[in-house]
């Protein structure tokens, strides 16, 4: 198993947990858990593989990914009632999944020899799209857009870090680990300590609509 596959497996498992937890908030049945968990788990990587025109989408070439997502869904179906606070569990698991999915996207784009713009976009999209589909389909406010938190910014900083490490000292695995670490630290810091970038604030115009 290569490092890139390992990242895909891990992000599929963690994203599937968040998908199943959102399904539990929407009071779906077991098949609904399986579907939303799978959609969340493979959504970002699927967009990546379609856009990069890889010979096959990763979870179609290898059935284990769907099997892992289904295990995660069943696990959550029978244990979610033990959680004190599902919203907070979703946020933290999603942060973990983001920190694994961004390097998964960056790594694939790098290995195909793409330029920096595409590498950064693939990192952000692989990280963000699974959760975005989950939230749009289940009618939650997308985490991606929650105000005053670092989310896309954490993914962006992680992807840029990977590029910088790659150009400087580093072999690919070091770059991907640095990417994961920076993404997770920024996202976690944002949730714990309220770190954020300045958001757009308009000066009050005379006739605002």
């Amino acid at each position: 198993m290569t490092l890139l596959q390992g990242l895909d497996y891990l992000s599929v498992f963690i994203f599937a947990l968040t998908g199943a937890l959102v399904a539990s908030r929407a009071q779906l049945d077991l098949v609904g858990f399986l579907f939303i968990a799978s959609l969340t788990a493979v959504g970002g990587g699927t967009v990546r593989d379609l856009l990069l025109n890889r010979e096959a989408v990763f979870w179609i070439a290898n059935p284990w990914y769907i099997a892992i997502a289904c295990c995660a869904a069943v696990l959550v179906f029978f244990t979610a009632h033990r959680l004190e606070n599902r919203r907070r569990a979703i946020d933290w698991l999603d942060a973990g999944a983001l920190a694994v999915a961004v390097p998964a996207g960056v790594g694939v784009a790098l290995s195909l020899g793409h330029g920096p713009g595409v590498v950064v976009m693939m990192g952000m999209m692989t990280g963000a799209f699974g959760g975005l589909m989950r939230d749009v389909v289940c009618n939650e406010v997308p985490l991606v857009l929650r105000q005053g938190e670092l989310y896309l910014t954490a993914a962006f900083a992680g992807a840029v870090t990977a590029l910088l490490v790659r150009w400087g000292i580093g072999p690919a695995p070091v770059a991907l680990l640095a990417c994961a670490a920076v993404t997770f630290l920024l996202r976690a810091g944002s949730m714990l300590f309220g770190w954020k970038l300045p958001v757009y604030k308009s000066r009050p115009p005379r006739n605002r609509i």
Copy 2:
């Protein structure tokens, strides 16, 4: 015309009817009818074809599909006011389209030699994605997620039935017909008699959010 093409034609026509009916609830003009009907009609099969990397998306290789969807849209534009209850017509037509689209997805995945996990996912996605796009774009509550009804579960059971028949006695056409029958019966039984799977119910935790 092969059986697989026939299933595609039929599901395109019925899904287009549901799309046009949803467009009539959103008070769109004729071109809006054409667009939403086409989107609903080809949405699921398009996702299937992109994911399975077929040489061409089915409705781009063959212009008749779009023509059929447009005929359905025009038909609904001029006759929908005769319906007593459009919501109910949409539900029943959607059930019929689901029962045709699931075997269309299963059949294509089987004919390309994919494993059981991919076959089941393709059945569910081909069945569910057209209606899901229709409902997300038109701001209806997605039928897929309506609580206490079998929808994804019906698609899932149909796809599994097809696999079982294929492994046991059966030639492909029998498997696909069995798939359609199981899907439709479960969906219809759910609408008529309230059949459902147990949904996730959390034990009330001490500090629920």
Copy 3:
């Protein structure tokens, strides 16, 4: 630079401006501006390229598109507070982007030798999908569906115009310019003078739901 590339560049820039303005209404930070602007800018063309199975998605083959979208996002981030009325600026810029993106879709489909149904669908999808993704992700009411305005109809008329010119007198550039002109005039006329098609109105049934 070919005419088709020029249309892609221009529609990317204008759509990115609209995406960044919508991001400003959602109070996102700078990275959020970059992401929504890029999503809006390349969304329609990406769907077009995936469906038509082009060898590479346009913005992955050529990194300048993302760079242009990012410039537009930064520009809006620092100047949007000067606008008196952002909603109106979005509507007009979106009209301009639509009038450029529809011929961009039509031109690519024509150059690949597709039939009239596919050409018209590609024009409408390239024009409409970027703005649709922007509005769905940011929770705005989709412009595509705003009642009593020509939007899809303008795109449709533009695409049909291109086909008629192409079949009649014309070389491809003339057809694409005519397409842009018709799309923009119909959309602008709709915003300024309330031009519209008759929308679907149901006769009041006895038992309407």
